[in-house]
């Protein structure tokens, strides 16, 4: 285990995690106004109409796959009847569909962003960095999968990468697990870690605003003018909060 191993597979991920968590908290606390998906749909919709849903549904599937593959221990899956064979089939087939959707989507989105002047001009430096990183993560991940899982004999990442991640999460990091992982998987992991590092400072924060509460809340929302002071607007002021009047002279206390 070299210093590099520790730096890359322990220090860097923990720094990224810390920035990810603290960054989100700080941004949520101080930059609500900047917290948005910053859609460019009004500029252009012909390409976006296809690209955006493809990418988003694809990446959601990819996310689901990663949760199953990385966070759920192999033994647990086997306990509920998902054998190695079935897992491999599922990961390959579903994974391919998801990857195709995601890649086609992001390619469309990037072409659109570059070739539509209105969209291009609304693109910030941070957007470009984010797009480059996101593309790198996806490309490295796909190359690794195609090389080892589809064309090759199959690389058993559930014995190395997955326990490494779980180790990180529970505070028992083991960098040796990552030392001999194939190069493209390593690249994939490193680029993803960088993406997490930058995440809170990009528009990707909109991921955490998925408005699931909409399914349950009442349609019409009422809010009071100022929730801190009950008794505003047409409401009667609360006791002690009545409007202060300018004292009238005859009621003023005159020193005797």
């Amino acid at each position: 285990m070299t210093t590099w191993d520790i730096l890359l597979w322990v220090a860097f991920p923990y720094v990224a995690m810390a920035v990810f968590v603290v960054g989100h908290i700080l941004r949520y606390r101080f930059d609500q106004f900047g917290w948005t998906s910053r859609s460019s749909q009004t500029y252009e919709n012909r390409l976006l109409r296809w690209g955006s849903p493809m990418f988003h549904y694809g990446i959601l599937m990819v996310f689901g796959g990663h949760v199953v593959g990385l966070l759920v221990p192999k033994e647990w899956l086997e306990f509920v009847g998902v054998t190695e064979h079935w897992y491999h089939l599922g990961a390959t087939w579903l994974g391919s569909v998801a990857a195709l959707l995601t890649i086609a989507g992001i390619v469309l989105l990037m072409i659109r962003r570059r070739l539509t002047p209105r969209v291009m001009l609304a693109t910030t430096v941070m957007d470009k960095t984010m797009y480059a990183l996101l593309a790198a993560v996806i490309v490295f991940g796909t190359v690794a999968t195609v090389m080892y899982q589809v064309l090759g004999a199959g690389y058993e990442y559930r014995g190395t990468i997955s326990p490494w991640i779980r180790g990180l999460l529970i505070g028992q990091p083991d960098p040796s697990l990552m030392a001999n992982v194939p190069f493209f998987f390593q690249l994939h992991v490193l680029s993803a870690t960088t993406l997490f590092l930058l995440w809170p400072f990009t528009r990707l924060v909109h991921v955490f605003s998925a408005p699931l509460g909409y399914l349950w809340r009442p349609y019409i929302v009422y809010r009071s003018r100022d929730a801190r002071n009950v008794g505003t607007g047409s409401r009667k002021p609360r006791r002690g909060w009545e409007k202060s009047e300018r004292p009238t002279p005859d009621r003023e206390r005159v020193p005797r």
Binding site: H206, Y214, S224, K243
Partner: protein, 556 residues
């Protein structure tokens, strides 16, 4: 009975001269910023015409408002909650910026600073989206005064619903102006469609607002509003809409558009309504019954039972008094001359209109008849189907009866008051023919024609017990990109792209903000080489031209 108060507006269309002062003053106050250049919280349309955004009334296409389903319940026309979430990655019913228009500015500098040449200099239009030269082909009121309407008016969705063919020959048609703001609906579909719950109706005065901090830019409100009165700020990525100038309303002052209206045709006042009755009224089966249903939701502020219920619900005494003196209540519920815009959208809009009598009067006058004679006017209202049907398409879901009733009252007032003005005895029969008394006629005349400031605006102050917030100068929305920006305060957020100075939409600012032109297209900057407008400098990087070049030997 749950009594709530609603600040509402009425516009008397006969008086609108289409000057757009309201739109311009509103824009100066609220949308004079990058990102909302194309946005007019207040706009004035010439009707017949296609409106702004183009054909916004075509709900088959835009899917705004509510629809009544087979079970008699209301659902959003654009789809329910699940469908909204499934479509969150791409809103299928969102108007593009070109449905409004591509915003532009002119290269004004060119006019004063161009070097001497044989041709006179031209201020070319520049797109505010790309910075390039553009040809202007559409705008917020392209068909102003029926300009080019032979070409475009056929697209007017109201004309399509009418039984009679309307010729758009200039000499034969009619026209009037329709100023529009957000309706501050009682049953707002924009609020219902917001996945983040960032839009809300204020409990105190019913003003519908967007919480700029809570908005995540999903854009569902833009589609869901049938009046297309929520707009997407393409710079900040947040929704913005008419605020009914609530910082003014809270101080008991009228909105900017009302205050500056040249025709003095806008009225502001309270309506008390029963919030528990709104949904049932909006779900009534027949579109033609919606007007009466909405009138039924309003409560009589003089009724002791209503007053008691209002007090029980925490409405203060001065607000009840204001509701009793409200010009809105008089025109909607007592005189019944005001009508809602498109009640068939079932959002229960709260900006109502007094339909214009002018299309009728104009025809009478053009035939040389007496345009102030009651009998001539009544006969014309019966006979002139086209304007009446058109008005019905706007204000009563196609039902001509309430339109006729309202127009007849206006006509009766016209001839009743003429007798008085000419010094003869008023003819009580005229008043009686529209079910009113002479006293009522005169009171209505005072409200509509004399229209004193204090009669037009009956606005109770907000009960704001923290006086600091009532200060006119401080506005919590004074942030970069925020609708109220323009205050002196420090507004640069940690992630903001530009410092928090008000940015007007000019070519200079556009370039300043963009820095270099990435697209390799023509640069718009050097209209006047070496000149820098310090007023536009946002305090960022040192722009070229700020200091003379180092090697130039020119004296300082």
């Amino acid at each position: 009975m749950r009594v709530m108060a609603q600040m509402s507006m009425i516009m008397n269309l006969d008086k609108c001269i289409g000057c757009h002062t309201c739109s311009v003053t509103c824009k100066q106050v609220w949308t004079n910023r990058t990102g909302v250049e194309y946005v007019w919280f207040n706009n004035v349309e010439t009707r017949p015409g296609v409106g702004y955004p183009r054909r916004y009334e075509d709900q088959e296409k835009w899917k705004g408002g509510w629809a009544r389903n087979k079970r008699g319940r209301l659902s959003l026309r654009g789809g329910g909650r699940l469908k909204k979430l499934m479509n969150i990655f791409n809103n299928p019913d969102l108007p593009g910026i070109d449905d409004y228009y591509e915003p532009w500015t002119y290269d004004y500098d060119m006019l004063t600073k161009a070097p001497q040449s044989t041709q006179s200099p031209v201020a070319r239009p520049k797109s505010l989206l790309t910075g390039k030269n553009m040809d202007i082909g559409w705008s917020g009121n392209w068909d102003d005064n029926l300009g080019g309407s032979q070409e475009t008016a056929a697209e007017d969705p109201i004309l399509a619903t009418m039984s009679e063919h309307v010729k758009m020959e200039f000499e034969e048609t009619f026209m009037f102006y329709l100023p529009r703001i957000c309706e501050h609906c009682l049953n707002p579909s924009c609020v219902a469609a917001c996945p983040s719950g960032a839009m809300y109706k204020r409990e105190e005065d019913g003003i519908v607002l967007v919480d700029e901090d809570g908005c995540r830019g999903w854009r569902m409100c833009v589609s869901a509003c049938p009046y297309k009165k929520v707009y997407f700020n393409h710079k900040t990525g947040k929704a913005e809409k008419c605020t009914l100038c609530y910082p003014l309303i809270e101080q008991g002052k009228p909105t900017i558009c009302s205050e500056t209206c040249v025709g003095r045709l806008r009225y502001l006042g309270l309506m008390l309504y029963d919030a528990d009755a709104v949904l049932a009224a909006a779900s009534i089966e027949n579109d033609h019954d919606l007007l009466e249903a909405q009138r039924g939701v309003f409560l009589d502020p003089h009724d002791p039972a209503v007053i008691a219920a209002a007090k029980a619900n925490g409405i203060a005494d001065d607000w009840i008094l204001a509701a009793q003196n409200s010009p809105i209540y008089k025109m909607i519920s007592e005189y019944k001359i005001a009508l809602p815009l498109h009640p068939e959208y079932r959002t229960m809009p709260m900006v109502w209109y007094i339909p214009p009598l002018s299309p009728v009067v104009d025809v009478i006058k053009s035939t040389g008849s007496d345009g102030e004679d009651a009998r001539t006017l009544f006969a014309a209202i019966d006979k002139l189907r086209i304007p009446v049907e058109y008005l019905a398409g706007l204000f009563t879901a196609g039902d001509v009866v309430p339109i006729e009733a309202s127009l007849r009252k206006l006509a009766a007032m016209r001839s009743y008051m003429r007798d008085i003005n000419l010094g003869s005895e008023p003819d009580e029969a005229i008043a009686a023919s529209v079910g009113m008394t002479g006293t009522e006629m005169q009171a209505m005349y005072r409200l509509l024609a004399i229209a004193k400031y204090e009669d037009r605006y009956v606005i109770p102050q907000a009960h704001l017990e923290t006086a600091r917030e009532l200060e006119e100068l401080a506005c919590s929305l004074d942030t970069d990109g925020g609708p109220g920006m323009g205050g002196p305060g420090e507004a640069r957020g940690p992630y903001a792209k530009t410092p928090g100075m008000p940015l007007n939409s000019t070519v200079d600012n556009y370039n300043e903000m963009r820095g270099e032109n990435h697209m390799g297209g023509e640069k718009t900057k050097p209209t006047t080489p070496g000149r820098l407008n310090l007023l536009n400098w946002t305090g960022g990087a040192v722009p070229p031209g700020m200091f003379p070049p180092k090697d130039s030997g020119a004296p300082a």
